[in-house]
C-alpha cells in the first residue's frame, strides 16, 4: 500500500499557547504545562468475556503489558495504555499509524477500535503542584497511593468528560475533547497562575 500523505496537524491550542513563564513565578515555577501531540490516540473496547484477548493483542502490538485491576495502565515514554472503563482501553503512541497496526488483530468477534487521534488533545501537567492544580478541576483523589503511576481515570470537569493518566510521580497526561481543548487549556492556565507555571 502506498504511503498515505496526511495533512499537517494543527493544534487547537495555538492562539492561546504562549511558551514561557506566567503567573506568580517570582518564587519559582511549580507546574509545567505542555501539549504532547501524540500521533495516535485510540480507544479499544472488548465485548464482555473478550477482555483478556484484547489485553494480549495490546501487548503484542505495543509491547505494553497492562497490569491487573480497574484503571490499570502503563507507559514507556513513547507509548501509553490505560483502562478507562470495564473492558475499554485508551492506547496512545507518539507516532501516527497505530490504528493500522491494530486493524488486522481486533476482529469483530473480539471488540472494536475507534481512532480518536483527531478527536482528542493531550495536555501534560508536571511539577510539584500538579496534584494541587488538578484537584481544582477534578473531584478525584490524586494522591500517589490512590492514583498510582501509569493508572488511568475517567472523570469530568464542569460536566465535560476527560481522561487522565499518571505518567510520572508528579506528572499527569489529560485527554480532552479537541473541540473543548482550548477552553480547558485557558482554564488550566488560570488555575496554575497562583503557583507559577511555565508553558513549554
Amino acid at each position: 500500500m502506498a504511503e498515505q500523505q496526511l495533512p499537517e496537524r494543527q493544534s487547537p491550542l495555538e492562539p492561546e499557547y504562549h511558551p514561557g513563564s506566567h503567573g506568580n513565578f517570582e518564587h519559582g515555577v511549580d507546574v509545567i504545562l505542555s501539549e504532547t501531540r501524540p500521533g495516535s490516540i485510540l480507544q479499544l473496547a472488548a465485548w464482555p468475556g473478550e477482555e483478556k484477548r484484547l489485553i494480549e493483542i495490546i501487548r503484542k502490538v505495543t509491547g505494553l503489558a497492562l497490569p491487573d485491576g480497574a484503571g490499570g495502565g502503563v507507559s514507556n515514554g513513547t507509548r501509553a495504555v490505560f483502562g478507562f472503563a470495564s473492558g475499554k482501553f485508551t492506547v496512545v503512541d507518539e507516532a501516527e499509524g497505530l490504528a493500522q497496526a491494530f486493524a488486522g488483530s481486533i476482529t469483530p468477534a473480539i471488540g472494536t477500535l475507534t481512532d480518536l487521534s483527531h478527536g482528542r488533545t493531550a495536555i501534560r501537567i508536571a511539577g510539584p503542584k500538579a496534584e494541587w492544580v488538578m484537584a481544582k478541576f477534578f473531584a478525584i483523589d490524586f494522591a500517589l497511593p490512590a492514583f498510582p503511576l501509569g493508572a488511568g481515570r475517567s472523570t469530568n470537569h464542569h460536566d465535560i468528560f476527560a481522561q487522565i493518566q499518571r505518567s510520572g510521580a508528579d506528572q499527569f497526561d489529560i485527554y480532552v475533547f479537541r473541540s473543548f481543548a482550548r477552553s480547558f487549556w485557558k482554564a488550566l492556565c488560570h488555575a496554575s497562575e497562583e503557583v507559577g507555571y511555565e508553558v513549554q
Binding site: 480497574a70 484503571g71 478507562f84 470495564s86 473531584a139 472523570t155 469530568n156 468528560f161
Partner: protein
C-alpha cells in the same frame, strides 16, 4: 454524596445520572397487557428507606449501575453493574416475571 462505582471507585454524585426506579420490569415490546404497561410507566413503590435505583456513571466509565440507596439518609448500601443481574432491596422485582 459519594457513589462507589464498581469500576472507578468512590466518586462524587455529580458524575452520575439518575436513570429511574430499578424495580420496574419492562413488558415484552409486543405485549398488549395494558395493566403491565400501566404498572411499568406509572407504578412506583416510593419507599421511605432502601430503594432499588438505576444510575449511570455518565461522567466516568459510563457503566449503568444498580444502586440501593436509602431515601431517608441517602446512604448508598450497594452498587453493582446493571448487566450483572440485580440485587433487590425488597425482593419485589425478583417476584415479577
Amino acid at each position: 454524596m459519594l457513589i462507589t462505582c464498581p469500576y472507578c471507585g468512590p466518586r462524587d454524585v455529580i458524575e452520575f445520572t439518575y436513570q429511574g426506579d430499578g424495580n420496574r420490569e419492562r413488558p415484552q415490546p409486543a405485549s398488549q397487557d395494558l395493566d403491565a404497561w400501566n404498572a411499568y410507566v406509572y407504578d412506583r413503590l416510593n419507599p421511605a428507606g432502601d430503594h432499588n435505583e438505576i444510575w449511570q456513571h455518565s461522567g466516568g466509565c459510563r457503566a449503568h449501575l444498580r444502586v440501593v440507596r436509602n431515601t431517608i439518609t441517602h446512604e448508598i448500601l450497594s452498587t453493582a453493574f446493571a448487566r450483572g443481574g440485580h440485587k433487590s432491596a425488597d425482593n419485589r422485582a425478583e417476584g415479577r416475571s
